[in-house]
Symmetry: C2
């Protein structure tokens, strides 16, 4: 395979066969390590297409990979596979004020897109926590993030995609038009498919005019349940809230210690963190006042408008560092369960029960505005076998509970490899059969990111 | 087949085989008439499933049908087919303030859903012109409508769907959760598939809190091009506009005459009609003032705030009656082309050229805020053969131009039967092959609405 890949790529500094950097053996978590057969670093869509065509003709599995920030093992190779590292396809190709779109290659980090469009007076609303993730990964997992309450998720901002199919053919799904009722929706099928149907090599993304003002506010509650119960009432009040995050005291404490920063309040045991944005600060304050009233009615101990820029940055920094703070003390298993929004409090309460039952620390935080609960299940000082054993039991319990509450194993991270058994356990068999049928249409030999998702 | 259908439905008043009402021979336009083999009127999902299962086992084509308000021949039967008339599956099953959803059967008319949720203080944003269309039809075509500029289209409001597959199995695609990154997106594949992949028998739709205030405003321009050029500038200004419709003097005149009503202005030759909504009238006025400034800068001859309820109703009545007004004078061919928004003016200008070239009247109107241009191509007093001849030529020209401008044959009506040749002419062959492959996975015998769309 070495000779063929060298011929396609034409540059021995972008093809690795004999010596492969160990970073390619695994995903970010690094628990499962498999040596791939080769790694290529294409600079052009055509190179991607040629590598895929070659792999397809020879039934060699392909693993697409970007910044490798995924949390579900979607980029873990299989033996003998070719990893296509898309991180060098990292150009912002066009910004078009006529169609209000930005055209990017898959390897552009999210933070770069956000910063770029903001220099033009626009903004790209999807805002997952991991800003170094590539847009290709965001599209492959239909990433969500903080601002989903008001603005929706990655899916809602993809106008069209250039996709390399298993055959090596290049297609453009979606359109430059805003509306489209012409044929089956292949674009939404590719979004969230985690590299199993094709490889995204270009994306045209919708941007919005940048709101003139944003503001955050923080409400401490005695218990998390009280906080989460408030959320539904806020959503019913039509107060144009951009983000509603929930946080717990313990997680905040870890993050404060990790960063050496102090959270604006230490009242209560749980917090709701709100963001608003809009064209007028007066409106934002009016909405924020309404939210304040609702919070007070539902038992908030305080309501702090974070109008001071420094306090604002500090608060979000602490929110953003929770996972790193946890990981600085121990290995952890990241969970991305989503439940119907009115079940959030019940689910979070259940996580405390399993934490006690198995004597394992569980930190929860996440997107209160859409029922997407992130958990860190913390290994602490458990021995390998005991950790695996308890983790497996706790996961069984959590995914079972999520299913009972009509929830799903992933709200925004995807299923990948590590969540696959839990997903398949509760997914409808008929639908899994349809997904596999669709996979066979796109990828008859099953070379694209095999043994992932469904 | 009569005996089997009678056994499944168990009520001879809901099965027709020997005597079939002629209304079932065609779609709303009534140009192509085909006698189906049978019509059934199910009252339960189970009956739909049993009929489909029987049809599949016997390779009998199935044509699903609601209020038959479609404009693309999607409900025209094929010979010997069974029409499943879903109009008696017309119950609103649940309204849930915990998940902010309404659960409806496919035969509920859109206007009934809108009215129902408004009594609860909520609203269902998608607002296509045809309010008597059923929600099943809206989902099957991914219907758009006026409010798409701010609120998006039907696709954006479907949380989950109950679908009868060709096998007769019943699945629920999508979820009760707000976010979902768990497996391939079968829900979006069903939406807009025009009955070719399955039959929607229930839908859980997202609703929003009803805005406290709405306002409309009207801006006359000397030419339509000037008006449409203004739109992009308005979208860039972040002024939270709900709808931007464009209208031409001639179409208005027809509608005025038809209704015996007078439009609020007769200045200029073209009009932009805006809607705003929100929680504060003050904000709405501030946004409307900004739009007024932009319109003036771009040559508007006036800017009329339609704050008077009577004038407001009258204006929208006249907008709403354009197609009926045209049809009261002549047969017409409805067009639903969508182009990238900055190409709208160019496309509308082109429609004037083809109108002259073929000496056929063309009225254009539509959704200026998203590049979705509706045309009525008007037969006038042309003889049948001449009409068909010229219509075919004009359609060839229009769809060719749309393709050149990176547009699509349908923004919200769907492809159905009548637009299929034009769609297939310019669609990418690889993608059509994927669509047909997907169809074969869902419907191996090809019984579901055959010879439609792709």
């Amino acid at each position: 395979m070495k000779a063929e890949l060298l011929e396609i790529i034409g540059d021995d500094k972008r093809v690795w066969v004999d010596f492969i950097d160990e970073k390619y053996y695994s995903d970010q978590l690094g628990r499962i390590k498999v040596k791939p057969g080769a790694v290529v670093l294409p600079l052009k869509t055509k190179e991607v297409a040629s590598v895929v065509k070659f792999a397809n003709e020879n039934s060699i599995p392909i693993i697409p990979r970007g910044a490798n920030t995924g949390l579900t093992g979607a980029t873990i190779p299989v033996e003998g596979s070719i990893i296509i590292d898309l991180s060098a396809l990292n150009h912002i190709e066009a910004f078009d004020e006529e169609t209000l779109t930005v055209t990017v290659q898959p390897g552009v980090p999210l933070e770069e897109i956000q910063a770029f469009v903001e220099t033009k007076g626009y903004f790209y609303p999807p805002d997952p926590g991991e800003k170094k993730a590539t847009i290709g990964g965001n599209i492959s997992t239909n990433a969500g993030g903080m601002r989903a309450v008001k603005y929706g998720v990655t899916r809602d901002y993809v106008r069209s995609l250039e996709v390399v199919l298993a055959s090596g053919k290049i297609v453009e799904v979606g359109a430059e038009t805003i509306k489209n009722s012409s044929g089956l929706d292949l674009k939404n099928l590719i979004i969230g498919s985690e590299g199993t149907l094709g490889i995204v090599t270009k994306a045209k993304l919708k941007v919005l005019p940048k709101p003139a003002y944003t503001m955050s506010a923080l409400a401490p509650f005695e218990t998390l349940e009280e906080g989460i119960d408030t959320v539904l009432e806020i959503l019913r009040a039509n107060v144009d809230v951009t983000a509603i995050e929930f946080l717990e005291k313990e997680a905040i404490a870890l993050s404060e210690k990790y960063l050496g920063l102090v959270f604006p309040t230490h009242k209560g045991n749980a917090y709701l963190l709100f963001t608003f944005d809009g064209e007028s600060m007066e409106n934002i304050r009016a909405y924020s006042d309404k939210v304040k009233d609702i919070c007070r009615t539902y038992g908030a101990l305080d309501f702090i408008n974070l109008e001071d820029e420094e306090a604002l940055q500090r608060t979000w920094q602490i929110r953003g560092a929770i996972v790193s703070a946890v990981e600085s003390t121990s290995e952890q298993e990241p969970i991305d369960i989503v439940v119907p929004i009115h079940r959030s409090a019940e689910f979070v309460k259940y996580t405390k029960q399993v934490s006690q039952k198995y004597d394992i620390a569980v930190q929860s935080f996440g997107h209160a505005g859409d029922g997407n609960v992130h958990l860190c299940i913390i290994r602490g000082d458990l021995e390998e076998e005991e950790w695996k054993n308890r983790l497996d039991q706790i996961l069984e319990d959590l995914y079972k509970k999520a299913h009972e509450l009509k929830g799903l194993p992933s709200g925004e991270h995807g299923i990948g490899q590590t969540k696959r058994p839990y997903y398949l356990k509760y997914a409808d068999e008929t639908q899994i059969a349809l997904m596999r049928g669709i996979k066979a249409v796109f990828d008859p030999k099953g070379i694209l990111n095999p043994q992932k998702v469904y």
